[in-house]
């Protein structure tokens, strides 16, 4: 029953001194899936990746990656996975090719294998003409792409990506996602992603939200968004509490963020009538839109939704 699972974890926990960074995480991720572990900074995403990739010993709990137990058989796990860390693992003083050759040899590949695969990966990531360039001279986006190529050189079955787009501008973030999409399409690998840019996780097959080391919500992005309601209404006002009190009977419990009041409503925008006209000068602006994963995260800790989860 577990052979089709790329990653399985049972009660995985990590304690540093008296802080519990990861608190009883359970995971079961099928082979070939695109899985996203989401959550704010410091929620335990990186510690979870480090335990699954055998670099940290779990305080309690167990995990299997590519069918191997992380605590008993770390070498088999490391041979089957590629890891792209939050901070690049490249030697900036060496060239692109020298870095790939170093990483390839560390993974036990022959020079012929490294040559063939790095040519393929550099082509895929649009770095073919940068082979002899010093890594220090590459742009941030190219460096990240090279780091992913570095992680894929030994053809792992599972690729861990820890915040792959952190610190990159929008065009470079899009490029990184295109590369990851191509890798998945061409090689059918399992991808385990962590990110706090929630909108980037929309293409994931499944996501889990981590908060203070615990998984608080999980499911497909579409389901999680659907559960939230059909429309998000945002009203900007100098008197958010007044707006909240006035509309709560009609739209349910609001979420107030600064001077913006959010409502989740299970109606189409057309059915909402002209709110702006109704609120007149009380509202500076009124908007409605489809909910997204950011809304899922915002409403996750909200009492109204928690009641519904419990029910």
């Amino acid at each position: 029953m577990t052979q089709d699972l790329a990653i399985r974890a049972e009660g995985l926990s990590k304690r540093y001194g008296d802080t519990l960074a990861v608190d009883g995480v359970d995971l079961s991720i099928a082979a070939g899936q695109f899985f996203g572990l989401l959550g704010p900074n410091g929620s335990g995403k990186t510690s979870t990746i480090h335990m699954l990739s055998t670099l940290l010993r779990p305080s309690t709990g167990r995990a299997w990656v590519a069918g191997h137990a992380v605590s008993q058989d770390p070498l088999a796990v490391r041979g089957a996975i590629g890891v792209v860390f939050q901070e690049p693992a490249l030697d900036r003083t060496l060239s692109v090719w020298e870095n790939l050759r170093f990483a390839g040899r560390l993974n036990g590949l022959t020079l012929a294998e490294i040559n063939a695969r790095s040519a393929q990966l550099l082509e895929l990531f649009g770095l073919a003409d940068k082979r002899d360039r010093s890594v220090g001279a590459l742009s941030g986006g190219m460096r990240r792409a090279l780091d992913i190529a570095r992680g894929m050189l030994h053809q792992p079955k599972i690729l861990f990506l820890d915040e792959p787009t952190i610190g990159l501008d929008v065009p470079n973030r899009r490029a990184i996602w295109r590369h990851i999409g191509r890798l998945r399409a061409e090689l059918g690998i399992t991808v385990f992603l962590t990110t706090h840019y929630l909108e980037e996780a929309i293409d994931c097959d499944e996501v889990a939200f981590l908060s203070a080391g615990r998984i608080v919500r999980s499911g497909t992005p579409a389901t999680l968004i659907e559960q939230l309601g059909r429309t998000i209404v945002e009203i900007e006002s100098d008197h958010p509490q007044e707006i909240a009190d006035r509309l709560a009977p009609r739209f349910g419990v609001p979420l107030i963020e600064g001077d913006t009041v959010h409502f989740r409503v299970d109606r189409e925008p057309a059915e909402l009538g002209s709110l702006q006209a109704e609120l007149a000068t009380l509202a500076r602006a009124t908007r409605w839109r489809r909910p997204n994963l950011n809304d899922v995260f915002l409403w996750m800790s909200h009492p109204a939704l928690q009641r519904r989860n419990a029910a």
């Binding site: 410091g42 670099l55 490391r78 490249l90 170093f102």
Partner: protein
């Protein structure tokens, strides 16, 4: 485990070390200038003072010592790459490779040994050109002395690196380790003439025995200028014993993931700030 899964990673570490050393001309140059400065300036100065009493010249005595100095600085600075790699993030590539983590320490010891030997080989060429080498040199003893000293110094460097979290810390330890090791050896004066307490420290210093092997090799002319202080067997036993002990401690220390945990934890904390 198939042997090529160990041999290839070790080769990768050696190859990278040589690449980096060739790129750092300053490092190579200083590895040659420092010993020549000692030999030609300090050696000449003390030699002038001593020549009134006759006997073989002080410069001839210094030849094994300055060769050892190149190995000591070369080996320890190359072992510094362990701390450097941790700071620059390259260590991530090493720890995620499918090899036991103690192989990283062994690979680094071998690469630091190789770096030190390349520097010593360049110095030997210069010494030969300057006429400081004797034709009666014993090649097997010279090789044993070079390799043994380089490996012992690399092991010492890794032992220090295994207990250093940051580069600053390491630089401090270098000053606390490298100079006492150099001064409390037979590099500058015969160990036999040291006061008893210092004599004991020098006898326990593995680097003393590396230099002593080089003295056995009768490198310098006139022959017999630098008389060895210990037997070849004792020198070899001290070098092998120390290197094995230092590397074992470094391997055990590095293999425990707790050694890497503070780093990971610190990165996570910085991010939250």
């Amino acid at each position: 485990m198939r042997p090529e899964m160990i041999v290839r990673p070790i080769y990768a570490v050696l190859e990278r070390e040589v690449l980096k050393m060739m790129a750092q001309r300053g490092r190579l140059l200083s590895s040659l200038v420092r010993p020549l400065l000692w030999l030609l300036v300090i050696g000449a100065g003390f030699g002038a003072m001593q020549s009134r009493h006759g006997g073989p010249g002080y410069q001839a005595f210094l030849v094994p010592g300055v060769l050892g100095m190149t190995l000591l600085f070369g080996g320890m600075l190359a072992a510094l790459s362990m701390v450097n790699d941790r700071e620059s993030g390259v260590m991530r590539m090493l720890v995620i490779a499918p090899i036991e983590h103690y192989w990283i320490v062994i690979a680094k010891a071998l690469s630091a040994t190789l770096a030190a030997l390349i520097q010593a080989a360049l110095l030997l060429v210069l010494l030969a050109i300057l006429g400081y080498l004797s034709l009666q040199t014993s090649v097997p003893l010279l090789l044993a002395g070079l390799v043994g000293t380089a490996f012992a110094c690399a092991s010492l460097g890794l032992l220090v690196a295994a207990f250093s979290k940051t580069l600053d810390n390491y630089a401090t330890l270098m000053n606390l380790v490298i100079f006492p090791v150099f001064f409390l050896s037979g590099s500058l004066y015969p160990v036999q003439q040291l006061p008893p307490a210092l004599h004991w420290v020098a006898t326990l210093n593995p680097y003393t025995h590396g230099v002593d092997l080089l003295k056995h090799a009768a490198l310098s002319s006139p022959a017999g200028a630098a008389a060895p202080d210990f037997s070849v067997a004792f020198d070899l036993a001290m070098i092998i014993g120390f290197s094995a002990l230092a590397l074992t401690i470094a391997c055990v220390r590095f293999s425990r993931d707790e050694a890497n945990e503070p780093l990971i934890h610190r990165l996570a904390r910085n991010r939250a700030d």
